[in-house]
Symmetry: C2
Subunit: 275 residues, 2 copies
């Protein structure tokens, strides 16, 4: 086969913890919850003489993708097209790492299993510092609830059995690396509390509500995000901040009802798959 294409849903993290294992990146990760969405990233891998990585017609360097390609010993061309922007809380780097792993395995006939590919992509994201829970949630699809951290051999994932419509509105970037690289004790404390709310009431509204409290308690809200969330909630909607970007997401038509120009999507039930 000379090329293969994978689709990986975007992932909006509602809340999270930081659970590090100093020796093993596949045991490092996060607990938390989020929404895999139908807006995502399509990744095409082509057998090629030199390695190249493109995102939306621009050649880029993405450490997690490089690590995946190193692990698979692959010199291939990776062309990604994304419905969602990079650096704004949609898990684009996780999607690219996972989609690259899936499509490269097919093109080069590496004979790895799904969980092996997820583990490679998860470990690469952790090492790059660009994400802790996106890859495993993007592999699962739906509204994953990450009960235990790490790759598929170590984690335990449940889900909220629902598929709501979602809107999102983005106003700026935030650096996941900066947040994960700083002190994270408050984040983990607030994330664990949010997780226990969702476990006791696994509903979409609870995910968004618990995420809103998490964002406030963990000190991650920006002024612009806070204002947009208030506009939606004071209009009777449910909204919160996507971790990590200056992005607000809402259930149903919460953002457009409050007068915002918003993208419409829906929870994607399938998770990462080959086209």
């Amino acid at each position: 086969m000379t090329d293969a294409t994978a689709f990986v849903p975007g992932h909006v993290t509602a809340f999270f913890t930081v659970d590090r294992d100093e020796t093993d990146p596949t045991r490092t990760g996060s607990r938390g919850a989020g929404l895999a969405i139908e807006d995502g990233v399509e990744i095409t891998v082509t057998d090629a003489a030199d390695r190249q990585v493109w995102l939306d017609e621009e050649e880029i360097s993405m450490p997690a993708v490089e690590t995946v390609l190193d692990t698979l010993n692959a010199d291939v061309a990776v062309h990604a097209e994304s419905d969602v922007p990079l650096g704004r809380g949609f898990g684009v780097s996780g999607a690219m790492a996972l989609g690259t792993a899936l499509a490269t395995n097919t093109v080069l006939e590496r004979d790895l299993s799904m969980n092996e590919l997820i583990t490679i992509a998860h470990g690469a994201e952790v090492q790059a510092g660009t994400g802790l829970g996106d890859v495993v949630a993007q592999a699962a699809g739906g509204m994953a609830v990450r009960m235990e951290p790490g790759g598929p051999q170590h984690n335990y994932i449940d889900a909220v059995p629902a598929r709501p419509r979602i809107e999102y509105h983005t106003s700026g970037e935030l650096s996941t690396e900066d947040v994960l690289g700083a002190e994270t004790a408050m984040i983990t404390q607030a994330g664990a509390q949010a997780l226990s709310s969702v476990v006791s009431e696994p509903r979409p509204e609870t995910v968004v509500y618990a995420g809103r409290r998490f964002a406030r308690e963990a000190g991650l809200l920006t002024e612009r995000v806070k204002e947009t969330i208030t506009d939606v909630t004071s209009n009777g909607g449910e909204a919160s901040m996507a971790m990590l970007g200056e992005t607000v997401y809402a259930l149903d038509s919460g953002l457009s009802d409050a007068g915002y120009d918003a993208h419409q999507t829906r929870v994607d039930p399938a998770g990462a798959r080959l086209r």
Copy 2:
């Protein structure tokens, strides 16, 4: 909400083991591999005064569905429409149990998580004797490889990262209850061997090839099935028997290439989901 609809893919089991825990149905199950397919069952649950279960315009009694409704304390009407026939190795009873659990949870706002609903449906199938591994594979979607048996709290599921086109041809029913109720040591021995082939080479062709050897070694082939498989393989295709029915499935166009009138479908990547 007065009604909700779930779709659950059909599941063709390629091979399996029988792993019983005498005290706990959620630890009972099977290891093995199979294919979730886009032909499946759509289950609509409506809030109603009396309990009713319909499959394709016919009122039926299905023990696994009854147990699910008992567990959820639910008097509802269940209307199912299936693309695939009952009793022929497509996991229709598992699909109905799981789809009923998902849709009933939504209609009656039972606030259970996805894994709790899968556990209820899996336990109900095990108790009814109509399946051991369909429900967890149908929840996962794709080409699930069940490495450890049981419900989601106990099992471990990997997958073959591929989404081949599939054909199937069915000529008669077999009783899962009869096979699972008899001596199963040979089945489990052959199933464990097939599993280790797929683990070392997680490809669609290996799943089908290992399934064919399993069917022969476990003594499950009927004359009609054996003849159809031979027709496909001697024509260069890959085919095996669906567990448990007089049904042959093939990769790509293996059956129609060999002159059979076959249904076309594809591996479904998503697993059970609300519509």
